[in-house]
């Protein structure tokens, strides 16, 4: 075949490299010493093969190291911000005395860091995903494939940082103050964050809604309260004002500075992945704030990201303080929360309906299988004559039904 011609030519060329060596007779080869054979043999092909392996290894080292250095830059900058926010525990404990600031997974493409130990905030988890730079061929293939078949390509080409801030509802007046005695109080404060209110970059609107179940339940609205690069995606218009209420005008300026890397800031209690059962629905609810950005590098952008995290923590601090000390003054009123609860019960009802329908379909299928099995059993027990009679009966029944159907149509 003509399209195999270049491969055949290449294979012939490779074979011809050592034509001289292969032409040696057994006796001639035996006469040569090992050193003589090594010298006589042409090692060009092997040298190229070794060179290719070395190149792959060098690319692997380069790719993983570039990713690690980028992640180090990101997490070290964020760690300074977490220290300013007075978190007791930053990073992960190890067997040695030194803490690990972050952990790397999947050949340095996924990085995770975790901080905890603070009033009002239970934890902050930072996850970063970087390109698989150690395998440039796969990046190239994905890009070319994505150009023509975008739906076939996974999100492996996305580089992003996701910061998840989880509140704990424990408010203390000072660092030396005792923890509140009422255990229910903190749970009560956390329950006040059960709503969806977010600011989404206009460049990421469709993708954010496609990737996040909670955003696909919100209305999209433009507002003068936001820089022109963003929109609100909230359950109700009233909830959109939470950012301005607690963040003040500085928050708008901060958003402007983050416009080129920020995808969204979202307060939510619902999951990113759509729950398909009521049990999953119950299990996956957790009030939190998610900040999603593109991969952030450079000291200016990292400082802006740190400021953004601080601003969100400040919102949780201020809101928790209001709920703990003066609930009547709090921005999120009971009426807003009631509306949110309504939406949740409607969504749960939708899930229950789909589940019931699926159960019914499954039952119906099972019933049909059983009937088919029963009929087969019955037929196997019958004699040949009886089987013919039954078939005749069934045929007549089918014809009668068909006739009746035709009559109805006429």
């Amino acid at each position: 075949m003509s399209f195999l011609e270049p491969i055949v030519k290449l294979s012939n060329a490779v074979n011809s490299i050592n034509e001289k060596y292969m032409a040696l007779t057994y006796q001639e080869q035996s006469d040569l010493t090992i050193f003589g054979r090594l010298r006589y043999y042409n090692w060009t092909f092997e040298a190229w093969a070794l060179g290719a392996v070395a190149l792959v290894y060098a690319t692997y080292l380069f790719g993983t190291r570039v990713n690690k250095s980028r992640a180090s830059q990101l997490f070290q900058a964020l760690a300074k911000g977490f220290e300013d926010l007075a978190f007791a525990k930053i990073g992960f404990s190890t067997n040695t005395a030194k803490n690990e600031l972050f952990v790397a997974e999947n050949n340095n493409t996924w990085f995770t860091s975790f901080v905890t130990g603070r009033a009002c905030i239970e934890s902050i988890t930072v996850r970063a995903h970087l390109l698989a730079r150690f395998n440039p061929m796969s990046i190239l293939m994905e890009k070319v494939l994505g150009l023509f078949f975008s739906s076939l390509v996974a999100d492996a080409l996305d580089e992003f940082v996701e910061v998840t801030i989880v509140p704990n509802g424990v408010y203390v007046t000072s660092s030396a103050a005792d923890l509140p005695k009422e255990t229910n109080a903190s749970a009560n404060v956390v329950s006040k964050f059960k709503f969806i209110s977010s600011i989404v970059n206009k460049g990421d609107m469709t993708k954010a809604r496609e990737d996040n179940y909670f955003l696909s339940l919100t209305h999209t609205s433009e507002s003068e309260k936001l820089p022109f690069e963003y929109v609100f995606m909230s359950e109700s218009n009233q909830l959109s004002s939470i950012f301005e209420h607690y963040g003040g005008p500085e928050f708008k300026q901060l958003l402007s500075r983050c416009a080129h890397f920020l995808s969204y800031v979202a307060f939510t209690d619902l999951p990113e992945e759509k729950p398909v059962t009521d049990k999953l629905w119950e299990r996956s609810q957790q009030p939190r704030c998610i900040i999603k950005t593109k991969m952030v590098t450079g000291s200016v952008d990292l400082a802006s990201l740190n400021e953004l995290i601080k601003a969100v923590v400040n919102i949780f601090d201020s809101a928790s303080q209001e709920y703990a000390q003066n609930p009547a003054k709090a921005f999120v009123t009971n009426d807003m929360l009631r509306k949110s609860a309504n939406l949740r019960s409607q969504e749960l009802a939708k899930i229950a309906k789909v589940m019931k329908q699926a159960e019914r379909d499954l039952l119906q299928e099972k019933k049909q299988d059983q009937e088919r099995e029963k009929r087969r059993d019955l037929r196997s027990k019958m004699s040949g004559e009886e089987q013919d009679r039954l078939e005749q009966k069934m045929r007549e029944k089918r014809e009668r039904r068909q006739r009746n159907r035709q009559k109805v149509r006429m």
Partner: protein, 190 residues
């Protein structure tokens, strides 16, 4: 006139022209190659000019519509698209530029590998014609207002008027509101 009908007419005319040319003559083959290459290069330049105009204008007005369901992807309901005028325009232009690349690959295969020259001649007008008739080029290079047929989201062109046309995107308030809070996001593919 409907662009698809004129495309058909041009194709028929070019077929007649190609029958009168000696495609074995290397000089004619060279001229046909130059004509096709120039047409593709011009079309690409027109799209790039429109692209740079879109980026410069940076119109971030929000655009919401319910895209028709894609039966090939197994969708039964339309999908809500929330985008900006800038991103919508860039997406439309990118798909047009992509079609140039696909055409180039097809013609390259037909001409260089299969050694046909006729398709090259027949395709030497349509790239530039498509570029000049593209809605984005009309809006951004010819300065036509984005109203009527040029209102976003654009209607898919149909050769026989309304008959056989692909379903249109819904832009009415009710459909958008229903799709907006339907909770179709976050569905992870298995």
């Amino acid at each position: 006139m409907n662009p698809q009908i004129t495309n058909l007419a041009i194709m028929l005319i070019m077929m007649q022209v190609s029958r009168r040319l000696d495609m074995e003559d290397p000089t004619i083959v060279l001229y046909v190659r130059i004509a096709y290459g120039t047409s593709v290069a011009l079309a690409w330049t027109i799209y790039q000019l429109a692209r740079s105009k879109i980026v410069k204008t940076n119109d971030l007005t929000t655009l919401k519509y319910v895209a028709p369901a894609n039966a090939m992807a197994g969708e039964s309901e339309g999908k809500l698209q929330v985008t900006t005028v800038r991103d919508y325009d860039l997406k439309e232009l990118d798909s047009a530029i992509k079609s140039i690349y696909t055409g180039l690959a097809m013609m390259g295969f037909m001409h260089l590998y299969m050694k046909y020259t006729n398709p090259l001649l027949m395709q030497s007008i349509s790239p530039i014609k498509s570029a000049l008739e593209h809605n984005e080029v009309k809006i951004h290079l010819f300065g036509k207002p984005a109203a009527g047929d040029l209102k976003r989201p654009f209607k898919a062109p149909s050769m026989f008027g309304g008959f056989g046309a692909s379903p249109e995107a819904k832009t009415d308030k009710k459909s958008i509101e229903e799709a907006e809070t339907a909770g179709h996001g976050g569905v992870k593919s298995e």
